[in-house]
Symmetry: C2
């Protein structure tokens, strides 16, 4: 039976779910899920940010980030410090444990992109990356 990718909507769904399955199994050895890995990634990228900044950068609901951050603090990957200037916020910082897995997570994500683009030329791969970024920016800019 042919797997017809007749609609971009279906293609996007498949790419999302597959890349998460790969990241989940890749990070399983560290007791991390894909969602947790992504938060570790961004916290290490910026070294210090608030939950709200993570929310905006990943374009996820703030309650989702609150739950993930709580788990990551419990498992020792991040620290929540209180922000002196604004008592409503936390400063989220990576721990040594987070820095230790950071390169591995980056590599896992790269590997997933290589998998899905293995049929493409280098030029196509770059164009794909660019168009994904353009589309995602347009999606975020929508007022829903």
């Amino acid at each position: 039976m042919p797997y017809i990718m007749d609609s971009p909507f279906k293609s996007i769904s498949i790419l999302y779910r597959k890349s998460h399955i790969w990241l989940n199994s890749g990070c399983g050895g560290y007791g991390l899920t894909a969602a947790q890995a992504v938060v570790i990634l961004i916290v290490c990228d910026f070294e210090k940010l608030t939950q709200d900044e993570i929310t905006k950068r990943l374009s996820l609901d703030k309650s989702v980030i609150a739950k993930t951050v709580t788990k990551l603090e419990e498992s020792g990957y991040i620290l929540r410090g209180t922000n002196a200037r604004d008592k409503r916020t936390y400063d989220i910082c990576p721990t040594e444990k987070a820095w230790a897995v950071y390169p591995f997570i980056k590599e896992q994500i790269e590997e997933g992109f290589r998998r899905m683009t293995q049929q493409m030329t280098d030029a196509e791969r770059e164009e794909f990356k660019r168009l994904l970024a353009v589309a995602a920016a347009a999606a975020v800019a929508q007022e829903d």
Copy 2:
């Protein structure tokens, strides 16, 4: 704050979640969720198929399709007929109620794609669609 789409993984996540949010709110008036709408779409596209065929075409776990199909039967969008040649399977067919929403669902999905590609030229939009299909096919072909 800039919304940096620095990684294709993040872009794909955002596009998946946004397109589902749009489809959910678009189909809400019919009491349908995005996941249900997608199954109605494929059932109408093929007019008659088994759950397993839906599973393979959407590249979802078979238990997910079983749950969605059960709900759609309860709400009167599809019929499950027994297959004479294979007692393990059902023949899934759309009802009139499904045909009635079919054009609307297709339009909602088109609209979502227009939203995310509104900054693109027609040529870029076509190329984006093609590269998404290539990537999704490669993802499905992986043995995980």
